[in-house]
């Protein structure tokens, strides 16, 4: 359900997700539509309840970010302590996933080469590239010069021929 008004209070969990959960939790039970709608709204209320409580706990702890610990304490103080064991399972999974990701990225990035060495290699590569480019540019310049010289010599030779015949004429005129 897309909310085009952008009103924060209209935010709810998608109905489909709730329906699926209800179906899995109470299979074969007929659930009235207005009851489903209410469950959707109860979700939002619950999230607000837990967020506010966790936020208060967070503020008291002088930390700026709500941590898993704050949420767990919030659940406890709100009377949902029985959820904590299961909820902690998610935390465990989070940690193991994060660990896997760190291992994977360090395998890629590290390869046993320290950062300074990598930097040095990078500088070397850049220097080489610059040098190659400079050499290329110089070659092109030399080629152009050479070509220009050739053209100049050719035209000079042509002019000389034309010029010598013209000289005779000049003499005559004087």
């Amino acid at each position: 359900m897309a909310s085009s008004s952008g009103n924060d209070d209209d935010l709810t969990i998608p109905r489909a997700a709730i329906n699926k959960m209800i179906k899995e939790t109470l299979p074969n039970v007929r659930v009235a539509n207005d009851a489903r709608e209410l469950v959707v709204n109860c979700c939002t209320e619950f999230i607000h309840l837990v967020s506010s409580e966790a936020n208060e706990i967070c503020n008291k702890s002088e930390k700026k970010t709500i941590s898993p610990e704050h949420v767990i304490n919030a659940l406890e103080s709100l009377g949902f302590g029985s959820y904590i064991t299961e909820v902690k399972d998610v935390l465990q999974e989070c940690k193991s996933v994060a660990l896997k990701r760190r291992k994977a990225s360090s395998r890629l990035e590290n390869l046993g080469i320290p950062e300074e060495e990598l930097l040095r290699q990078q500088q070397e590569l850049f220097a080489k590239a610059r040098q190659q480019q400079a050499e290329l540019a110089q070659q092109e310049w030399l080629q152009m010069q050479h070509a220009a010289e050739q053209a100049h010599m050719a035209s000079a030779a042509a002019t000389q021929q034309a010029g010598s015949s013209q000289d005779e004429d000049d003499d005559d005129d004087i």
Binding site: I13, C43, H48, N55, E86, V87, V90, C94, V97
Partner: protein, 120 residues
């Protein structure tokens, strides 16, 4: 909606590998719409999402077991409202789930209130 466990989807709407079925980004939006709520650690967000799932399950099961519809295998609005009224931890829901009371009871409580005011 669930994706394979190999996909590391942190920012995606679809929760991939954290054992939750509700959309995490939506939960985040709702949390942030709470007044004064600052930043939320990603793991804390997953915890809240999981807790919300458990809440839905408990609410549904409690309402059904204690409800009038159990015999006929149905769950009605009134079952939810009753459970909210009768269960301490669900009291916070009574604002949005007013229990429909019988007209007679309402009139009685109204009289009671008028009597109280008269005494004062």
């Amino acid at each position: 909606m669930k994706m394979s466990a190999n996909t590391a989807d942190q920012d995606n709407n679809v929760p991939a590998n954290k054992n939750v079925s509700l959309p995490v980004s939506r939960v985040r939006l709702i949390m942030k719409s709470s007044p004064d709520v600052s930043n939320i650690n990603q793991d804390a967000l997953f915890l809240t999402t999981r807790a919300t799932e458990l809440f839905v399950q408990f609410l549904a099961v409690s309402s059904f077991n204690n409800g009038a519809g159990k015999q006929s295998n149905t769950l009605a609005y009134s079952d939810l409202a009753s459970t909210a009224e009768e269960t301490d931890t669900f009291h916070f829901l009574t604002d949005i789930l007013p229990k429909k009371i019988l007209a007679g009871d309402y009139l009685k409580s109204l009289e009671q209130m008028q009597d109280d005011e008269a005494d004062n």
